[in-house]
Symmetry: C2
Subunit: 251 residues, 2 copies
Amino acid sequence: MTYCVGLRLDSGIVFMADTRTNSGVDNISTVKKIHTWCSPGDRVITLMTAGNLATTQTLVSLLDERSMLPSKRDPSILTEPTMFQVARLVGSTLREIIEGQRESCSQAAAASFNATLILGGQISSMDHRLFLIYPEGNFIEATVDSPFFQIGETKYGRPILLRGFERDMSVADALKLLMVSFNSTIKTNLSVGLPLDLHVYSRDSLERGIERRFPRNDPYYTAISQTWGSALKNALHSLPDLDFATVPPDA
Amino acid sequence: MTYCVGLRLDSGIVFMADTRTNSGVDNISTVKKIHTWCSPGDRVITLMTAGNLATTQTLVSLLDERSMLPSKRDPSILTEPTMFQVARLVGSTLREIIEGQRESCSQAAAASFNATLILGGQISSMDHRLFLIYPEGNFIEATVDSPFFQIGETKYGRPILLRGFERDMSVADALKLLMVSFNSTIKTNLSVGLPLDLHVYSRDSLERGIERRFPRNDPYYTAISQTWGSALKNALHSLPDLDFATVPPDA
């Protein structure tokens, strides 16, 4: 599977993705799922991918070619005027790839070509924006009410995000939150695994932010995993006891 | 959906189940999913059910009839000699119900008759045991390595169980753990909802233990939900900060 999270903070966007790809538990490998295109001073665009690896690699290659070759730069994610138009371009490219693969195959296998994306970034003086793009090519945008997106194995790591996320939190706190969310997921689903990739985009910087890989046995990840275990137990012990005596059984 | 958890402690078994049943989000109601049969001094058997409501209600009615009418008491969960034999009887009864419904319907609808069960209890001087029963009628038993079972919407509430569960924890601590696990699930999945039903079986008591319903707006549930939110935030803040400067970006 995969686990990717994009958090839209007031101060920027934090992206984190695992790197495990698998076709069956007996065939796993490591693949980068976070991709950044940057035209310094003009725009930074980061994409995270979950789903069929052939689909997502083709998507990234197509976006790459169109952004690198001047002759193909129309349309390109480096020339679209707004993040909304970038999301439309990425969404339509994704849909074309999936439909192309479907046409050459039987209906039965069609669902397995699907992919889901998180796209975020900023263009010149406009707001930084974050999108979730579906295999159909349509998309939704992060708002004040739902300020983060997850793709892949989203359930195990979701409760802590709902509890801990605040728009005005620092990048350091956001990183702790993501580390815990990924740790919960990695402990419960073998198809999500280290290394983890991080990109922290700072609002209005219009250049690549902190990019970092947390490898297997990363000391920070290990420290978080261990301290979180004891912090959670302390939190549990701090909860009030139920007084079984005072409340009627059928309250 | 449904969420039920059975924890096998050294001191007994704690069962908790939600009560929401739904067919679509526009059709929800409240149903008891936890059922206890008791022959004081001889045995206590508790069953929790997830899945098709027609299937699980039929199952409970059949087990009830066989345990109440002396003429039908062979086989009955009140006469089987061991918990293992009780699990076999419940499993085969479940499979028969599902197969009976499948036969009278098209194959397409067959999957929707499924149900999954958690069964636990104790018979005379034998160990207290906990089983997870599949729609096929076969089952697995809780062991030292996997000492609890979840059915229904299992993912949101699983990380805290993995982190917090200890075989020798007190019933009060186990209840806190379950409350948090249910709270995480209820906050993220509309098809799991209050009231919550609890049964705490005390090892070697051979009688019904504490049975309790936590209704909507239950003060203890509300207190747990609120204090857990702040306890989690404190736990997050207690985690170490990453020093971005000292570790190379491609460590």
